[in-house]
Symmetry: C2
Subunit: 110 residues, 2 copies
DNA sequence: CTAACGTACAACCACATGGTTGTAGATTCC
DNA sequence: GGAATCTACAACCATGTGGTTGTACGTTAG
């Protein structure tokens, strides 16, 4: 299937997005890079929990980390974001076209 | 957060999409409605497993079922698909804009 | 040098997930 | 009416997930 080139990728990406904390981390980190502990302070959970969320986002290639001294700066991955956008585009277009086609049929039937 | 009106919805939707079988079911039933057992025949797993996948898609409001005799016809939910498209649009635009802004900064710095 | 900080990771827990088999209720076919 | 079909759902199992605490290690600040 065209849209599913890289099924595991899609799995990882959608799974990474299926958690409100991770979506929030992602949007923050796209705005500007933040260290893991800076992120950790924002949420009502332990450092370790947030660190794990970052790992999930990392494995989905949605963020990357770069050392700055003893800190690890988390950033939204511009290239990966393009990939996701394209992935979403694929589904979106596919679904919209099909949904549109269904609507036409429904309208014709009336 | 604007894009997160309905966090649980987004959770359910992304989670529903984070499985290749469910994405395949979804694209098929958008094309044309199919009974649960027709779907079940397509995958190397039990009827019950497929039925559960359909339930997950249903809870995410991505599909709906309507009885036809003893069969239950699964269809892609046109209205819900619009909602998803809008949801994806929101993230996509948000991310693209931010990604674009980051790129500009990076280019300026060079 | 030492203390504090930032990170990584292991071990553990409760619960969700994705799969199985089995059973039972409707509906249709003959 | 009786058999076959389609669906729903419970019970069970292995594994994954999201959280915790504790520990270890590198880096920076005093």
């Amino acid at each position: 299937m065209v849209v599913d080139s890289g099924v595991a990728d899609a799995d990882r990406v959608f799974h990474a997005l299926a958690d409100a904390t991770r979506r929030d981390i992602l949007t923050r980190v796209i705005r500007s890079g933040m260290s893991v502990s800076e992120l950790a302070r924002l949420y009502p959970m332990s450092f370790a929990a947030v660190q794990k969320h970052v790992v999930v986002l990392e494995r989905a290639a949605l963020v990357s980390k770069t050392r700055r001294g003893r800190e690890q700066i988390v950033r939204g991955e511009v290239e990966a974001l393009r990939r996701v956008a394209r992935l979403l585009d694929g589904y979106e277009r596919l679904w919209r076209h099909r949904a549109a086609a269904i609507e036409e049929i429904l309208e014709e039937e009336q």
